[in-house]
Subunit: 141 residues, 2 copies
Amino acid sequence: MLFESGASSALLALPRATHATLHALSARLPDLRLTTSEVNAMANLADGISRSVGDLSEDTGIRTSTLTGVLDRLERRGYLSRELDFGDRRSIRLVLTASGRTVAARVRRAVTELEAAALANVPADHLAGYHAVVSALHRVC
Amino acid sequence: MLFESGASSALLALPRATHATLHALSARLPDLRLTTSEVNAMANLADGISRSVGDLSEDTGIRTSTLTGVLDRLERRGYLSRELDFGDRRSIRLVLTASGRTVAARVRRAVTELEAAALANVPADHLAGYHAVVSALHRVC
DNA sequence: TATTGTTATACTCTATAACTATA
DNA sequence: TATAGTTATAGAGTATAACAATA
């Protein structure tokens, strides 16, 4: 039994686009020398809201055991600090430093610019459909 | 300057959903013991159309230097063969074997089932919007 | 007992560039 | 001179399970 081309699968379109976009972002900020995972983490942290490792894992799709290494590098560069969570002392709060906020803002701006360029001629209802489908795919997993 | 939450970015939603869906697929087929990249490759090869390494790289978003290793493992398992392309002898054609077709069909069926479950209550125009946005994001990179 | 985050191991993926063969 | 695919290396990401501290 054969199946139709992968190109038409909503699910298989995800990794294609993910690889391309994260790579493009990393390449747009060559002086920052961030890997795709570091770009992903910084872009999500850019909202300035402190969060736990588990929360960032859900935001980024990066496993916590992988995040440990990613966060180690970002911390070593002085972009973030791990602070105690006094509400739950098993947990920690990830907080951007001043230079981390600067870097995160650049990353986030690159994300915004890339999106704006890509979606310039895409109508709003298409974007709404997009978010509905991505959420649905994510939710079922 | 702070940015809105990553949750609302079309671009940042991609890696989140990609990790979740590929991982769910791999976990749904535990006896196959395929990595997410192997799942990605097999799902794309499942249409039975032979293609070059470069083509599969574009289909999957996996770099050709990474694909070499992925294809080595799939070939070693007897799922595919590398055949000469007589039209361009620098290139090769990736062709599924009989057992490779069986495995690819299972992978593709899992993809289809997951998609069907996720998108059961998603209207067709949302799906059209989704494909338009994913393509636009991919194209700009 | 369950959860948060880290550690450990072995394996897989990535970036980059060099390399072979062919075009 | 350019392209298809492989190789090589070092570093980054993954699965998995064990672990300490806390809940």
